[in-house]
Amino acid sequence: MTFMIAAYLVFWIVTFLLVFSIFNRQRNLRRDLEMVEQLVESQEQPDRR
């Protein structure tokens, strides 16, 4: 029974880690995107003037 539990635990742990890591990457990227979009906007504003 120990082997069976170990195998299913491995599956669920790796799956949760995978999903968590993708969500985490997405959250960080959204934050980065917001920041670079602001930077691009601030760089382009003097050009418009």
């Binding site: 029974m1 299913y8 995978l18 993708i22």
Partner: protein
């Protein structure tokens, strides 16, 4: 929350629900195979319901990656590179689970965690090739060159998939053949009863939905990463 986020969440929830049903079927409905006598054999046999689908998803992911790689080389459209890269990452995750769960099954069944059997050896070689793919992507800075090299690598690495699948059918091996006929020398083959078959194919279906849900999530993340990279380049090279 955008409409895309909502659809991704719905797909992930559906995949999660199917996985829960799969677990209920594995432990509540699937009977013990009649040829397994000891409790150790009967319990470890249940690993098969998740072990085989992890490899199925791994193979599916590598088929998608190689096809997308080929389409990238033909069209040079970035979309195919995004799909190929995302699919390999998921394929590596699922084949890693397949290798670990297989090793856990092998210990009570073969009395060893690992043996250099043709199936295990081809599985390890294939897995290492796709680890190489991820390393290759990380080592090339130029996006166009990275996509081109990765596409070629994904197609070459794909050769390991049919080799891995057929290893237990072509050569003398101790790994069981679940579907299709095996070599006359192969050991440990078994026929699936109707209930076991139903549970097994439901698990394969649930894993396939999980793969597509994760693909949608991973592809969206990859596009986001590329948009951030593009804007950073715009700031630097302005």
């Amino acid at each position: 929350m955008t409409q895309g986020d909502r659809w991704t969440a719905i797909l992930l929830a559906l995949a999660g629900l199917l996985m829960v049903v799969a677990i209920i079927l594995v432990f509540g409905v699937a009977p013990d195979p009649v040829n397994l006598v000891t409790p150790l054999e009967r319990f470890s046999q249940r690993i098969f319901y998740f072990h085989v689908p992890t490899w199925w998803v791994g193979f599916l992911a590598f088929v998608v990656a190689a096809s997308a790689g080929l389409l990238y080389l033909i069209t040079r459209h970035e979309r195919w590179d995004v799909i190929s890269a995302s699919s390999v990452e998921l394929g590596v995750a699922f084949t890693t689970m397949g290798l670990i769960t297989g090793s856990i099954w092998a210990k009570p069944t073969w009395n060893t965690w690992w043996t250099w059997d043709p199936r295990l050896t081809t599985a390890a070689i294939g897995w290492l090739m796709y680890i190489g793919y991820l390393m290759l992507r990380g080592a090339i800075d130029n996006p166009e060159r990275r996509a081109r090299f990765a596409a070629v690598f994904a197609i070459i690495a794909f050769l390991s998939v049919p080799l891995n699948f057929m290893a237990i059918r072509w050569w003398r091996t101790i790994h069981p053949v679940v579907i299709g006929s095996s070599s006359a020398d192969a050991q440990g083959g078994f026929a699936l009863g109707p209930t076991i078959q139903m549970v097994f194919f439901f698990c394969v279906f649930a894993f396939t939905v999980l793969y597509f849900a994760l693909m949608v999530l991973r592809v969206r993340t990859e596009w986001l990463a590329r948009r951030v990279e593009h804007l950073k380049q715009r700031i630097i090279f302005r």
